[in-house]
Structures are given as C-alpha cells and as structure tokens.
C-alpha cells in the first residue's frame, strides 16, 4: 500500500506505534501496516530501544490446548468474535480492541499475560484457516478454543473440569522455591503439561 497523502501516512505510523506497543512482531507489522520495512524497524527501535526480535512466528496449534493457555486463548477469542460480529469492527481493529480488553482484565487481577499479541494473532490465523474452532462446553455453555474437526460429543471445558494438578505449581506450597516460581512464568504451563500427560494413563 502506497500512501501518498501525509495524513494517510500519519495514520499508518500511529497504527504501527499502537501495534508495537501491544507487542506485535515485525512480520505482523509488515503484513498489516503500509510502511516500508526500514521505517518499521526504525520505529520499533525508537519505541522499544532494541531491535525487533528475529525468528519464526509460533506455528503449533497444540500450545493453545494446554490448561492456562486454553483459558486465556478462549477469553481473547470470545472478545475478538464479539468485536468482529457484534461491534462490526474490521479485522485488525477487532484484534487490537479485543487484545486491549484481554490484557486489561488480566492486569486488573494482577495476573500474568499468558497470550502475547503474536500468539493471539497466530490464533486468529489458525481459526481463519480452519485449524482451530470453538467448541461449546456441555456444562457451562461457554465456547472454548479446540482443534478443528474434534467433535467430542459431551465436551467439558477446562474451567468446568480442570486437570487435577492445574494451577498447583502457582501456589508454591513447598516453601523452598518461591523465588524460582515467580521468576519463571512458564512453570505452571509445564506443570499442567505433565499433569495432563499423567491423566491420560488410566
């Protein structure tokens, strides 16, 4: 997209700033913002003080299925769907507004943002390409992120039936490693992973 008008370019810069502040990666910016790669990189450096991270975007749908990630993903995706279908916001604005609401709600309870912007964006792409779907919980009626074409007849969501050890790693009941637990955000998810693995045996 070539934006000839000054105003149009200002808007693109504003959009880029907004997206960078939300934590968007360079790949995403290049796809969504009508500015050159060089300008985007300069903007990124000015805002964040560091070069944009290199490397691939996350590519696995499995991440969205682990306990805590599934809760956060479902929260975001329901908000996104609302923004898209109820509020009739165009795709990118729906993303931004839903992501704002999501982070706001998590931060209000002092929680940790499990779903970063890149994961959120990738998830939307997975939904668009029919790799993920929303499955209704047979107990609470809420819609949760699930693998596409995974039609379980009486699906119960991760909140109505949490895995037995879900979230326990967070509580740090054993007093010997509280520092470690708080400095390693990935710990609960890993713990839940192993708990889920253990559940599959019987």
């Amino acid at each position: 997209m070539t934006t000839k008008s000054v105003l149009g370019e200002v808007r693109q810069v504003q959009l880029a700033v907004e997206l960078i502040e939300l934590g968007a990666r360079l790949q995403f910016l290049e796809a969504e913002v009508g500015l050159s790669r060089e300008r985007l990189i300069r903007l990124y450096k000015e805002l964040k003080g560091v070069s944009p991270p290199k490397g691939l975007l996350p590519f696995s749908t499995d991440w969205y299925m682990t306990w805590l990630a599934n809760i956060h993903s479902s929260m975001f995706y329901n908000m996104y769907r609302f923004m898209l279908h109820e509020a009739n916001e165009p795709g990118l604005q729906a993303m931004i507004k839903a992501y704002r609401l999501y982070t706001e709600q998590i931060e209000a309870h002092g929680g940790e943002i499990v779903l970063d912007f890149t994961r959120a964006y990738t998830m939307v792409r997975f939904f668009d390409s029919d790799m993920l779907q929303l499955s209704p919980c047979s107990r609470c009626g809420g819609h949760f992120v699930a693998h596409a074409h995974d039609h379980k007849h009486d699906y119960v969501c991760v909140l109505c039936r949490p895995p037995s050890r879900a979230g326990k790693a967070r509580g740090t009941k054993r007093g010997d490693e509280p520092v470690k637990a708080s400095s390693m955000p990935a710990t609960p998810i890993l713990a839940v992973h192993s708990a889920l693995g253990g559940n599959g045996v019987h």
Binding site: G141, G142, H143
Partner: protein
C-alpha cells in the same frame, strides 16, 4: 423496621436515582470513548451505544430520576451463577465469566443467521 414507611421509599427512590445517574454517566463515557468496547462492557447493541453517546446531560438527568433502575441484570441464567459457586480463584472465575458473557451476546445473532 417498617419497610412500607414513606421515608424508606423516598430513600429507595433516591438510591435508584443515584445509581441511574452514575450508571448513565459511566455508560455515556464508555460509549464516547470507544463504541465497540462499550458494547462489550455494557452488553448493549450498536444503536443503543450511539444513542447513549449522543444524549445531552439534561436528557440523562431526566432519565435518571425515575423510580425504576435503568440497567437490567445481566446474569440471568444458571451457569453464570454456578461459575461463582465453585471454589476457584477470582481471576479464573473472571476469565470464565468473560468467556460466557462474550459468547452469550453472540448467541441471538447466531440463531438469526440460521433462521
């Protein structure tokens, strides 16, 4: 305690008026700030959100001084209450709530689309 007493009824009317005014002012602020987010938070449609944003202060004050509440109860079905009955931690309950709330408002539209 005489519930039917005139004084109490006056108090109740005043309390309702206060809540109405606070509610309307907040609703308008949200609607002016960002319509889409206001629709999500208030659970109202696009037309109502626009209407709220464009109301004058006089209109708001007039509307607020009625003796019935202007906002209605949003948790009107069983699963919503069940969520809070469980011994989960607050942030999980809030997460569960928001998933249910967002999906609920989409449901009528889904059935419309099917019809």
């Amino acid at each position: 305690m005489d519930i039917d007493g005139g004084v109490n009824n006056g108090d109740i009317s005043k309390e309702i008026g206060d809540i109405n005014l606070a509610y309307m002012l907040l609703a308008q602020k949200l609607a002016k700030q960002d319509r889409a987010a206001a629709m999500y938070r208030l659970g109202v449609g696009r037309e109502l959100a626009d209407l709220l944003a464009n109301m004058s202060l006089t209109q708001i004050v007039k509307l607020a001084t009625s003796n019935f509440l202007l906002c209605s109860f949003r948790l009107d079905d069983h699963p919503m209450f069940a969520v809070f009955g469980e011994g989960k931690d607050t942030s999980l309950q809030q997460a569960h709530m928001s998933i249910l709330m967002a999906a609920r408002q989409l449901q009528p539209r889904d059935t419309d689309a099917l019809a």
